[in-house]
């Protein structure tokens, strides 16, 4: 069900505005999707290979490395408060700088 931000048809008292309103309403009209030939589609689907596996593995490894870094919880709070950042951002930056609060802050002030 495609949603619509349009309310009931609004009252307009000029022809131009009526046309504008009608044209904008068309943007969100219900339209059937165009269909494609089924037999050819199956061949095409086979050619779309999943190449995201390697990327995902690399990301997981990175996250594992960061999770192993020891950090001071008080530093996270200080950085989040003084630099008005989300705690997750503060924590991640601290991990990326191996727990060195001064280095992390200097990076964030760039």
């Amino acid at each position: 069900m495609e949603g619509s931000d349009e309310g009931v048809e609004r009252v307009v008292d000029s022809k131009d505005l009526q046309q504008q309103s009608k044209a904008f309403d068309k943007l969100t009209d219900r339209v059937e999707d165009r269909q494609l030939d089924s037999s050819r589609v199956q061949e095409a689907m086979a050619s779309i290979a999943a190449s995201s596996e390697a990327d995902w593995q690399a990301m997981r490894k990175r996250e594992k490395e960061l999770a192993a870094v020891k950090i001071n919880a008080a530093d996270v709070d200080i950085i989040a408060n003084e630099l008005e950042l989300d705690k997750k951002v503060a924590e991640r930056t601290l991990r990326e700088h191996k727990g060195d609060a001064v280095a992390a802050i200097r990076h964030l002030l760039r």
Partner: protein
């Protein structure tokens, strides 16, 4: 599904859904009510009824019903989906996404929910999620064209253009050889152009060119085809082919500057900085002489040489360019030439040239060296051009004399009054500028352009009520100036916001600035419907361009002005909060009992009056809602028309921070962004963030007076902080110790020495001297008199001729006003401020701020002359009755009643 319905009611439920999809909401409501009569607790029906009501502007009912429906049937994906749609319509996208995910947990392969989720992900730029969702949709329904296109675009946006190409090629593999059918030619052509632009973006230039040629017959948009082809040819180094193609494009549109630029590149004669060698200039000149023969009617081919020619050749070409336009009477000639004033030496050449034309026409009615007689209007247009020339060079006295002569020559030309208004504005007489803009407006009451220009001048002169009355002449009847807000008329809101701010009305100022911010929020939302529409229409290049534009939307200058204005307003509100009710009560308690009683009565009366006015206003609003068709069109009444509630904000600085973050993200290369950041964070005691602002200022322009001010102020403040006690303070101090050595301005220097060193480099600049003096005072308040004396000893030197554009004297009005304010506030020396004012009144005789002898604040001013003339024309007017407010909206056409031509 939860409780399932009998077949009759199940069909009615399908009707509700269909009615919703086709926007037949009343029909949907009827069907829902029919079901609820028998099954009053059916969750999905309650939800759908709520969603339908939401589309009929009955939002509170909608939420109530949807929540009830969900509560009754927590395991229904329909109920969760509907809840998400409801949140989305209120732009609560994160909540909506949560609801969709809950719905998908129940029904993982629901196409409709996945599609709605993908729209939200596109809107929120969750691009990896978007790719994932589009992939799922393609897997589920691979025979839908839109799913292939959506998946491809998702990869493109997620920075994987080559993957996007692969997907489009796979999609093409599904098509018949004779594709597209006639009714899909445009769509298919657009898709092909998109694919080729992807190949170009990936750097596969040869492949892109090959594909372009191969698909030529299927691409409908021939102009984009050619432009794409020439872009690829140039990048591949096929310059001869590129040159031929640019010639073809020029024959289609010889006024497109980019084609000329491209042609110059192909023949090896284009430099980004425009610094051509004499040999290159000669070759360019030959090129354009050839081109001018081919495109006789093009303005561009005659105008572009003025950019690269120098000296006598420039003078000759400019002369040839200007003469026919003066004869024709082209009012925009100066605008056309104005960029040349930034080139060294050209302003002087233009001045000599135009003066010579003026002299010759005066004496003989002919151009120099010509026998043909010029029409009488040529002299007027020459004077018009000269007036703008001297205005640009800061010689306002001469500019005004030229424009006055032109007006005397032909008093009915509207442009003359507009230019006079602009000259007076630059000279500092905003009141007179508004008066002459109004004069121009009255000469053509049907032209909204002169109306708007007049409104803007009135706002600059802080005549807000008059400006509003004037603007209303072109708004819809009954809507008053609310119509300007509805039509997103930002220039008006910015100018009136700035006027209210200058007058100290913070509530109204904030109201206007926040209105502009809301327009930008609305524009951001406007893209939502196009995420599905553009995939259907296949206008993919334009869609991607729109998305990139939206990503930088808040970089626009208007947003910057509004956000900066709002931040300044909130800072001022923080520094000088309005008197609270408690304080007023305290004052009351000191009064005598009888006075207390009177005060209370007065208060009650005032409240009653305000209430009555509000009620009347509501009645007016609702009355205007009844349109011709008789239906009531209820507009929501503005609960805070004068911004009074905005003044009651509990924490102005945190409100300001919201807008500051947008500026920091979108206007990081603006000094003003970081100046505001410094002011805000010092007040919030966020030392590290203030340091960040200082670092940004130094990065952008370390020699700017404001950068210097902030740098020294910051370290002066830090130096006076107490020793670190808390962990937080210790950490901050460690960062400061690590950062200070990286700031070269402070190497091995005390703050005093840094200030002196700064002055040494800029001792001839007024604004740098003022910054030095201010800092001297801040570092040692005992040296105030020394600082004041230093400013007063500054010299307003004559600028050498033949430089780039510059005024005859170095100082400009804006800087002198800033210094006056500095003397009167930070340095708090009223005598010095007065002396400065008297001195500047000499330099700027038209400035109302300095009450110069020619300003509206003086009896001899242009504005007062205008009033005198008006009185002469209408002897029955009482002398005392004349004032700005008396200018009528129907103009003063009686001034021209006796005019004969």
């Amino acid at each position: 599904m939860g409780a399932s319905l009998p077949s009759k009611e199940a069909n009615l439920f399908k009707l509700i859904v269909k009615s919703y999809e086709t926007k037949q909401y009343k029909k949907g409501l009827k069907a829902a009510d029919a079901i609820l009569k028998k099954f009053p607790d059916h969750g999905e029906t309650l939800s759908m009824k709520g969603l339908t009501l939401n589309c009929m502007d009955r939002k509170s009912e909608a939420y109530e019903l949807v929540r009830q429906g969900l509560k009754n049937d927590l395991k229904s994906h329909v109920c969760w989906h509907v809840y998400g749609l409801l949140y989305r319509s209120d732009r609560e996208y994160r909540e909506a996404i949560k609801c969709y995910r809950n719905a998908l947990r129940i029904d993982p392969d629901n196409i409709e929910i996945l599609r709605d989720l993908s729209l939200l992900q596109a809107q929120m730029r969750d691009l990896s999620g978007f790719v994932e969702t589009r992939q799922q949709l393609l897997t589920l329904k691979p025979n839908h064209r839109m799913n292939w296109i959506g998946f491809s675009v998702a990869h493109h946006l997620n920075s994987n253009a080559s993957k996007a190409v692969e997907i489009l090629e796979a999609y093409e593999g599904t098509l018949e050889e004779d594709h597209p059918p006639e009714n899909e030619r445009c769509e298919h052509g657009e898709m092909l152009l998109y694919k080729i632009s992807l190949l170009e973006e990936c750097g596969f230039l040869e492949r892109a060119l090959e594909e372009l040629h191969k698909k030529e017959s299927k691409i409908v948009d021939k102009l984009v085809y050619k432009e794409q082809e020439v872009s690829l040819l140039v990048k591949l180094g096929h310059l001869e082919e590129g040159e031929a193609l640019y010639q073809a494009l020029l024959s289609m549109n010889p006024d497109n500057y980019r084609y000329y630029e491209g042609l110059q590149k192909c023949v090896g004669l284009y430099l980004e900085d425009g610094q051509y060698s004499p040999d290159q200039i000669d070759r360019l000149d030959s090129l354009y002489k050839t081109l001018v023969q081919q495109y006789k009617w093009s303005s561009a081919v005659k105008r572009i040489p003025l950019d690269f020619l120098q000296g006598d050749k420039f003078r000759e070409a400019a002369d040839n360019y200007i003469r026919p336009l003066l004869t024709k009477g082209v009012p925009s000639l100066f605008s056309d030439l104005s960029s040349l004033y930034n080139h060294p030496g050209k302003a002087d050449i233009l001045e000599q040239l135009i003066l010579e034309l003026e002299r010759s026409i005066r004496m003989s009615g002919q151009y120099p060296g010509r026998m043909d007689k010029e029409p009488p209007s040529t002299l007027m247009w020459t004077l018009f051009l000269l007036a703008q020339h001297y205005d640009r060079r800061g010689q306002y006295e001469v500019a005004l004399s030229k424009i006055d002569e032109a007006i005397e020559h032909t008093p009915t030309v509207i442009d003359l009054y507009s230019v006079k208004s602009r000259i007076l504005k630059h000279a500092g007489d905003l009141v007179a500028a508004a008066a002459f803009a109004d004069e121009a407006r009255c000469m053509d009451l049907a032209d909204r352009y002169v109306n708007s220009e007049c409104v803007k001048r009135m706002l600059q002169a802080d005549q807000v009520a008059l400006a509003e009355k004037t603007a209303v002449l072109f708004t819809k009847d009954g809507d008053q100036h609310n119509n300007l807000h509805d039509m997103q008329c930002m220039w008006y809101e910015l100018a009136s916001g700035e006027s209210y701010f200058r007058q100290g009305d913070l509530g109204r100022a904030l109201k206007k600035f926040l209105a502009v911010e809301k327009h930008y929020a609305d524009i951001t939302e406007d893209q939502f419907d196009f995420h599905s529409y553009c995939l259907r229409k296949m206008t993919l290049c334009t869609y991607v361009e729109m998305l990139k534009f939206q990503d930088q939307l808040h970089s626009h200058a208007y947003f910057h002005k509004a956000a900066a204005g709002a931040i300044r307003g909130y800072i001022k509100l923080h520094d000088s909060p309005p008197k609270s009710t408690a304080e007023e009560d305290d004052n009351m308690s000191k009064l005598l009992p009888s006075q207390k009683k009177k005060m209370r009565q007065k208060q009650r009366k005032a409240e009653a009056r305000a209430k009555k006015e509000a009620e009347e206003k509501n009645e007016e609003s609702s009355a205007s809602g009844v349109s011709k068709s008789g239906k009531r069109h209820i507009k929501p009444v503005d609960p805070d028309p004068n911004g009074e509630k905005l003044l009651q904000v509990e924490d102005p600085l945190s409100e300001a921070t919201k807008y500051l973050k947008l500026l920091q993200k979108n206007s990081p290369d603006s000094l003003e962004t970081h100046l505001l950041s410094f002011e805000l964070y010092t007040r919030k005691q966020k030392i590290l963030l203030a340091l960040q602002a200082v670092k940004q200022l130094l990065r952008l322009d370390a020699e700017h007076p404001d950068s210097h001010r902030c740098l020294i102020k910051f370290f002066h403040k830090v130096g006076s902080m107490n020793a670190s006690v808390t962990d937080s303070e210790k950490l901050i101090w460690s960062v400061l110790e690590a950062e200070r050595p990286t700031i070269s301005q402070l190497h091995e220097k005390s703050l005093f020495e840094a200030n002196n060193s700064f002055l040494e480099k800029h001792k001839d600049s007024l604004m740098h001297r003022a910054a030095f003096a201010e800092i001297l005072h801040i570092l040692d308040s005992n040296r105030k008199s020394e600082a004041v004396k230093f400013i007063e000893e500054s010299t307003n030197n004559i600028v050498p001729r033949n430089g780039a554009l510059g005024p005859i004297r170095e100082w400009n009005l804006k800087d002198c006003i800033a210094v006056h304010k500095l003397l009167g506030t930070v340095l708090a020396d009223q005598d010095a401020a007065l002396r400065w004012k008297v001195r500047c009144a000499e330099y700027f005789p038209y400035s109302t701020y300095f009450e110069g002898c020619h300003s509206s604040a003086s009896p001899n001013s242009a504005f007062n002359q205008l009033r005198k003339n008006s009185e002469n024309e209408s002897p029955n007017h009482s002398v005392g009755g004349q004032n700005v407010g008396s200018i009528t909206s129907n103009g003063k056409l009686e001034a021209f009643k006796d005019l004969t031509i």
